[in-house]
């Protein structure tokens, strides 16, 4: 059974089921079946570095160790960012209605890669204000976390021409403007302050050759 999610728009709460849409549901799937030359089914396992130990799927795990090599329980670990600041834990997005307040431009939306696609199974028709804005092409951006934890993923609510409402979860991409500025390696940016910079005046100084 699909999980329900709630959105809040203009003080009104909209409840919907999250129906996951995958490529397999649209086009079918292609899976790889590996067989021995005799036709026996093969399974993929991990071979340890000793060349003998075969580890089945799920037979390994990641453990956290401290500098002394002692095991650190997961519950004692604290998430920090690259600067060492503790990161705030966020609740699951299913625990409270998600406020639809931030509109997002088309370019900003296109700057994200879409990782998960959900179709909203609406229990009732959308209220006119939201339905109209979605029909007009407005895209709403929210933060989404399925189970809660560290940070949220950018998610987008948008409509299509067929009155479907989509909830897309993405990853940010770092799109940069590109110019012809030369990226010279080894050039001193403070060239003017260089003691020899005053001598480099005459470009036709054949004496330097």
């Amino acid at each position: 059974m699909a999980r329900s999610i709630e959105f809040s728009f203009g003080g009104e709460v909209i409840s919907a089921e999250l129906l996951k849409v995958e490529r397999q549901k649209l086009y079918g799937s292609i899976s790889v079946d590996t067989r021995t030359l005799d036709g026996g089914a093969c399974s993929l396992v991990t071979l340890a570095s000793d060349g003998r130990t075969l580890v089945p799927h799920g037979g390994t795990s990641l453990g956290y160790l401290n500098q002394d090599g002692h095991w650190v329980p997961r519950s004692e670990l604290v998430p920090v960012d690259i600067a060492g600041r503790e990161l705030e834990q966020v609740p699951s997005s299913f625990s409270a209605p998600i406020e639809l307040s931030e509109e997002c431009s088309l370019d900003e939306f296109l700057d994200h890669g879409i990782r998960l696609v959900y179709l909203l199974g609406l229990a009732a028709e959308l209220a006119p204000p939201l339905a109209e804005t979605l029909a007009a092409g407005t895209i709403y951006k929210v933060g989404f976390s399925y189970r809660g934890g560290v940070g949220t993923d950018p998610a987008f609510l948008l409509g299509d021409g067929d009155s479907n409402v989509w909830f897309l979860i993405g990853d940010p991409h770092d799109v940069e403007w590109v110019g012809l500025e030369p990226t010279l390696v080894g050039v001193d940016p403070d060239e003017d302050e260089h003691p020899d910079s005053h001598d480099a005046g005459d470009p036709l100084d054949f004496g330097m050759l």
Binding site: L18, D33, C42, V45, G58, T60, G63
Partner: protein
């Protein structure tokens, strides 16, 4: 950073770079008191201690249960918990022996999970940096439409490698920004193949988007292998209550899912999602094991049956897809366009026009009046198609006489140069002089 061989609207091609621009905020975990911690992969279980082996060793499930109550037969105290490094992946047979030669098949299933086809595995060759450049198909999809029609799972930023390719890419970005559309890029000689970045990786449809801000540009190659549309399965009444799959679960060896080099569902997948996928896979394998006759039928004699079955199902799915894929509809037009370049581009321009009217006719008009290139805006769209043939027609004419002229120039130059051969005569004279002087000396 892969190379991409691109073609522009004028048919010029160049090899440029495609940068991955995916970002992620790095999260570290520290121990109590801010003590740094690091991860190690440890061994939890081996094939010698899995359920099948233990049941076989103890004579049955009940005996195994009793043994589990009495002791820890599932744990090897000597080895479990040891760190793993330099591991590799191998295939094992049903007897749990390493297999060195395998055969791989693709099992094609329709959206309802029914077997459509079983065929030898094919690995598509990479085609984005081959001798045949990605072609400018001319199929333009307004950006607003594209965002609501396709799921862009990943994207690459196309960047120049030198001054010449800067001009090349800036030109492409300008054209696309002016059209406010994305361009479908096609690979292969026909220009209709999907883009494959590495051998055997997921094929994608590529859409090129351009933005321009003065001398700077952004050229994005959006990659998609899924349309944003409601699956037909959702509209059918549920026949049986299906076991609920994990929200983000995906099968391990499914080649139709994730983009190249990414694990899309890993971040938010519940802990048991992999198991669900494995179960699904094992079920599939078991199904194939159970039906050797079926396989044999597919393998040997029923090439006919398979081909008979496949077309019907494939045709049905293709028909359904073809209805909704307007891009696919447009692409054949491009094949024709390849033969008749000039009219095809005119057609493309004609196609573009109504699409834009649908998307945002009101926005574009004032934008052009305000900022746009005043005279160029109307002229470019009509001239866009005309430009190519005009230049192509003109090019050989210009080049040919130029060469002739050059050749003509070269010939007299040689003739003029010929008298220089007198130099050796001088040399001879000087040699004579030298000998004379030597003789004198």
């Amino acid at each position: 950073m892969p190379n991409v061989n691109l073609t522009d609207q004028r048919g010029r091609d160049a090899v440029v770079k495609a940068e991955s621009i995916r970002t992620s905020e790095p999260v570290r975990y520290v121990g109590p008191g801010g003590q740094a911690s690091y991860t190690r992969r440890v061994l939890k279980s081996t094939v010698d201690h899995d359920y099948d082996t233990l049941v076989e060793a103890h004579g049955g499930p009940e005996e195994l249960g009793a043994a589990l109550v009495d002791g820890d037969p599932e744990i090897d105290l000597e080895r479990f918990g040891q760190f793993l490094w330099n591991v590799s992946k191998v295939y094992i047979d049903p007897e749990e022996e390493i297999v060195f030669r395998v055969e791989q098949f693709e099992v094609v299933e329709d959206p309802e999970g029914e077997l459509v086809e079983r065929r030898p595995r094919e690995r598509l060759e990479a085609n984005v940096d081959s001798d045949v450049p990605l072609s400018w198909t001319g199929t333009l999809v307004p950006k607003a439409d594209a965002a609501r029609r396709f799921v862009f799972a990943s994207k690459l930023q196309i960047v120049h490698v030198n001054g010449l390719t800067y001009d090349f890419l800036h030109g492409i970005a300008s054209d696309l920004a002016e059209a406010d559309s994305m361009l479908l890029m096609g690979a292969g000689r026909t220009g209709t193949d999907p883009l494959v970045f590495r051998r055997g990786s997921t094929p994608y449809r590529g859409f090129l988007e351009g933005r321009v801000e003065g001398d700077r540009y952004v050229l994005l190659l959006h990659l998609s292998n899924t349309e944003l549309r409601r699956p037909a399965i959702f509209d059918r009444p549920p026949a049986e209550p299906e076991a609920e799959q994990a929200p983000d679960g995906s099968s391990t060896e499914d080649s139709g899912g994730s983009p190249a080099g990414t694990a899309p569902d890993a971040a938010s997948a519940p802990a048991d999602s992999n198991d669900a996928g494995t179960e699904a896979n094992t079920e599939k394998v078991a199904e194939h094991e159970k039906a050797p006759a079926k396989e044999a039928a597919v393998k040997r004699s029923s090439a006919k049956k398979a081909t008979a079955k496949v077309p019907t199902k494939q045709a049905a799915s293709k028909k359904a897809a073809a209805k909704k894929k307007s891009v696919a509809k447009k692409s054949p037009a491009k094949k024709k366009a390849a033969a008749k370049k000039a009219p095809a581009k005119k057609k493309a321009a004609a196609k573009k026009a109504p699409a834009k009217k649908k998307a945002a006719p009101k926005k574009k008009a004032p934008a052009k009046k305000k900022a746009a290139p005043k005279k160029k805006a109307p002229a470019k769209k009509t001239a866009a198609a005309k430009k190519v043939p005009a230049k192509k027609k003109a090019a050989p004419k210009k080049k040919a006489p130029a060469k002739k002229k050059a050749a003509a120039k070269k010939v007299p130059a040689k003739k003029k140069a010929a008298p220089k051969r007198k130099a050796p005569a001088k040399k001879k004279a000087s040699a004579k002089r030298r000998t004379k002087s030597d003789g004198k000396g």
